[in-house]
């Protein structure tokens, strides 16, 4: 399919790059930066995970055991912010950095120095976020949605979170500009848009979403900042402002944001399934159209997060219909993946296990999403554990499982070694089981009426909370298996061939494992 690429493994352009820590600080190489993003993301996953364990420990039984209610709110807020902006988003940018140049036949990203800057903005932002726990009054406790006017009441931790979001937003925008430019200008000859691997397509669309909505978030939090310190009244009703305005602005960012966190996951799954079914992706064109429809629809559904603010019936109806429409392209994607598996010749190594787990569990999150799109039902379950279950099904079993699928899929290429398949399988099965033990009972809790973001609960919710906490501790510990598998793979292991997966057919597999420092110095020709 692709012309074999002649490369020079021994070319010695490493000489001019510094060694040690300075190599990482000054690097402009897409692979180094991809690695930095992925390690940063994993570190944040661990930090956010520790906060989650703090939450589940308090909720293990009714009563206040460990934390004061205000600190509990800090835990839930920071868990959300750290996981969304620190773990999931940077992980996908890490994949983009490593994979996009290799998949489109380019030597590196378009703006190599800006690439370095977009990564190195993240650690200071993370320090501001995590450091905010230690300022007077602690971290912000207004929920990751930072709803005003509660967020205008917070202590200085809120300001640190706002600055962190500004910096992370700038980083995301620069990353997005880089990705769009790379994809549009640096594809190998012969690779038209409709021949690009699906992962590249998902990132092209995601990058446009990022550019469209990150400034909106920056605007929203800046308005909170000026309301807090500079006498404005955007969200203060007593001064003529409107608290609900914040929610409109936030969710105009927030809904595309959830697709920013899931579209690249769709991309990874669309690479993994054909590779292990040994069969081309079913319905490539309809996959691209489905992605584009999801992205466009994501801009007109934001108020389904706000059905209880008291909008008129016409508003509820519009946002219900628009939201339900998203089920159509999402369904098309799931059907296409299953049709790709149909009459294939499947094997189930760790990437494929995570991909199958993704489809299965993500779809359950899709069904609860459909339920939440119906305003009367949403009224009952809004701000309950049903919503917590829903977004963890799409964000953990969706995005995070896809990240694991991608990591196992490409790590032989990145390190030149095969990972330990036994560890990978243990990691998958324990993750899947503990994930469901943690989050499935939350559907029941939400339906029965347990609000989210409470440190203590009525007695009828006690048993399911105990089950969920047990599952949560297990899920957290299971992720250490992933760390072990990755470290083992980096340090050694069976030598990986150029193309370790029989059915894989994209350009990165024509490079040696590990690939040369500048992926493609001569562009390959795509027929």
């Amino acid at each position: 399919m692709y012309a074999a690429h002649a490369h020079d493994q021994a070319h010695g352009d490493h000489a001019h790059s510094p060694g040690g820590i300075m190599r990482w600080i000054t690097t402009t190489n897409h692979k180094d930066i991809g690695t930095l993003y992925l390690w940063f993301s994993f570190t944040m996953l661990m930090v956010g995970g520790v906060l989650a364990i703090g939450i589940r420990a308090e909720l293990f039984q009714p009563g206040l055991q460990f934390w004061r209610p205000e600190f509990f709110n800090e835990l839930t807020t920071m868990h959300g912010l750290i996981m969304v902006f620190g773990a999931i988003m940077p992980a996908f940018v890490g994949f983009a950095n490593w994979q996009i140049p290799m998949m489109i036949g380019a030597p590196d990203m378009a703006f190599a120095r800006m690439n370095n800057w977009s990564f190195w903005l993240l650690p200071p932002a993370a320090c501001l976020l995590v450091g905010s726990f230690f300022v007077p009054g602690g971290a912000t406790a207004a929920g990751w949605t930072l709803y005003a006017p509660l967020s205008t009441q917070m202590g200085p931790g809120m300001d640190l979170a706002i600055f962190a979001l500004h910096i992370m937003g700038a980083s995301s925008i620069m990353g997005a500009i880089n990705i769009i430019t790379t994809i549009l200008n640096m594809r190998a000859p012969g690779m038209d848009l409709m021949k690009m691997p699906l992962f590249v397509w998902t990132w092209l669309i995601t990058a446009y979403l990022l550019i469209a909505v990150m400034p909106v978030l920056a605007g929203a939090v800046t308005m909170v900042l000026t309301d807090r310190h500079f006498g404005t009244n955007f969200f203060n009703a007593a001064g003529g402002g409107d608290p609900v305005l914040f929610q409109h602005i936030f969710w105009f960012f927030g809904h595309p944001e959830v697709y920013i966190m899931i579209l690249p996951a769709f991309g990874i799954i669309s690479q993994v399934i054909p590779a292990f079914a040994r069969k081309p992706l079913f319905g490539y064109a309809s996959m691209v159209y489905a992605l584009a429809s999801i992205a466009i629809l994501s801009f007109i559904v934001w108020a389904h997060h706000m059905f209880t603010v008291g909008m008129p019936a016409a508003g509820q109806l519009f946002f219900m219909f628009a939201t339900m429409l998203i089920a159509v392209p999402t369904g098309v994607k799931v059907f296409n993946w299953i049709a790709t598996m149909w009459k294939g010749s499947m094997t189930f190594e760790a990437p494929m296990l995570f991909a199958c787990g993704f489809i299965f569990v993500f779809s359950m999150g899709g069904f609860t999403g459909l339920m939440l799109a119906i305003p009367p039902v949403d009224i009952q379950v809004q701000d309950t554990y049903y919503v917590v279950a829903h977004f963890h099904y799409v964000l953990v079993a969706g995005s995070l499982f896809a990240i694991f699928a991608g990591a196992y899929f490409w790590i032989p290429k990145w390190t030149g070694h095969m990972y330990d398949e036994t560890l990978g399988k243990w990691h998958f099965w324990l993750s899947l089981i503990f994930f469901n033990i943690t989050f499935f009972p939350m559907h029941f809790l939400g339906l029965a009426g347990m609000p989210r973001r409470i440190p203590d609960y009525a007695l009828q919710f006690a048993d399911f909370n105990m089950v969920a906490s047990f599952g949560g501790f297990g899920f957290g510990l299971t992720q250490l298996i992933f760390l072990a598998a990755v470290i083992k793979c980096i340090r050694g292991g069976e030598k990986a061939p150029d193309k370790p997966w029989e059915g894989a057919d994209t350009l990165e597999w024509t490079l040696p494992s590990p690939p040369p420092y500048h992926s493609f110095e001569t562009p390959p020709v795509v027929k």
Binding site: Y147, D242, G310, M320, V328, S345, P376, I379, Q460
Partner: protein
């Protein structure tokens, strides 16, 4: 019919037959027309989703079992089929229309707050609810009644742990009750699951919703919008009673309010001890959540009163602070205005704070002094 069927389905799926009622796995037993419609809508969509789930994942698991390399299956290379791709775009669309139709009817019904028999204004405060019966002229606050010892684990937890209040909302059965919501500080949400009502309470704005309780009973809910540290501790309790009983309750409440008005009538001579005793009650209801029983607060957001310069300084300054709240850089802080309290209540609570903990001013603030400073 459908409801019962799903309950069984869900209970069976959870494989826990020993665990009491189906309420644990599903929406609470509906007690109003809207709650019934929501319940049935949820059941309908749940069943449709289950059918789709079984069909789609039946196909996937069939492929996983039959089309494995280990089972000797050879991969076919097809990758397109326009007919089937159009079919699986259109069929889900039609199913969605089938779901949207009943949902639309319910949305229109739940939004119709016209012609209520009774209107109650619910005001969210950090962290309690205030209720005003607009026609009857009844007003009261409703706070968590669970004792602190139960929260801290020093006493066994009662049946209605965290779901009990000192003053429940009393409504007549079978009458259309319109709930108007607003808030004093941040956004709260008034939610009673069994009655199918959840409505955000937004400071500076008024929203409404309605319910009609099918039968007498006590229905419990909680604040549903994160509103600060004690968000989990501001439950809602609605007692639906027969209309005659409701009338009696209204009369009783009105008489009680009249008695308080007489007792607090202007011109009454208050002693320091009387004011302190009354102030302790006011403090417990309105101030203690932030400033704490110790008067030490939880700085920096909620400062200490014990040893505070405001509380031990000029009394006019403190009266102003309580009436108007604290505004810093043109912004309202967490210290909200308490001008909704009566002159007696404000005088009493200020007297209490000036003579408690480490504060020993010996001042007795008289209601007239508060009245003089009201703007």
């Amino acid at each position: 019919m459908m409801g019962r069927w799903t309950k069984r389905l869900v209970a069976a799926a959870a494989c826990a037959p020993a665990l009491a009622s189906a309420d644990r796995y599903n929406l609470q037993t509906p007690q109003s027309i809207i709650a019934h419609q929501i319940y049935d809508l949820h059941t309908l969509i749940f069943v449709i989703c289950c059918v789709i789930f079984v069909v789609v994942f039946g196909v996937m698991f069939y492929a996983i079992i039959m089309h494995r390399k280990a089972a000797g299956h050879k991969a076919q290379q097809f990758h397109e089929n326009t007919t089937i791709e159009i079919a699986w775009t259109i069929v889900p669309f039609l199913i969605l229309i089938g779901m949207a139709y009943p949902a639309t009817k319910t949305i229109i019904a739940m939004k119709d707050t016209s012609n209520p028999d009774l209107t109650i204004k619910a005001t969210g405060y950090q962290w309690k609810w205030g209720y005003d019966y607009l026609q009857e002229g009844i007003s009261f606050y409703s706070s968590l009644a669970t004792p602190r010892d139960q929260l801290d684990g020093n006493a066994p937890k009662g049946v209605n742990y965290l779901l009990e209040v000192d003053n429940p909302v009393v409504v007549p059965v079978g009458k259309k009750v319109r709930i108007i919501t607003t808030a004093n500080d941040v956004i709260h949400a008034w939610w009673v699951p069994a009655l199918g009502v959840k409505q955000d309470a937004i400071p500076g704005f008024v929203r409404d919703s309605w319910f009609k309780a099918d039968k007498a009973g006590t229905y419990r809910g909680q604040c549903a919008e994160l509103c600060g540290k004690d968000h989990g501790y501001m439950p809602i309790v609605v007692e639906a009673v027969e209309p005659a009983k409701y009338e009696a309750w209204v009369k009783d409440r009105q008489e009680k309010m009249a008695k308080v008005a007489v007792a607090d009538a202007p011109g009454k001579i208050w002693t320091l001890d009387e004011l302190k005793a009354r102030g302790e009650k006011v403090y417990a209801q309105h101030c203690v959540a932030c400033h704490q029983p110790t008067g030490l607060g939880t700085p920096p957001v909620f400062p200490a009163l014990s040893g505070s310069k405001v509380v031990t300084g000029l009394k006019e300054v403190q009266i102003d602070t309580v009436l108007g709240g604290v505004v810093k850089d043109g912004k309202q802080t967490a210290m909200m205005p308490f001008k909704q309290l009566s002159d007696v209540e404000i005088a009493a609570v200020i007297t209490y704070t000036r003579n408690s903990w480490s504060n020993k001013t010996g001042d007795a603030i008289l209601p007239d002094e508060v009245k003089a400073l009201r703007k």
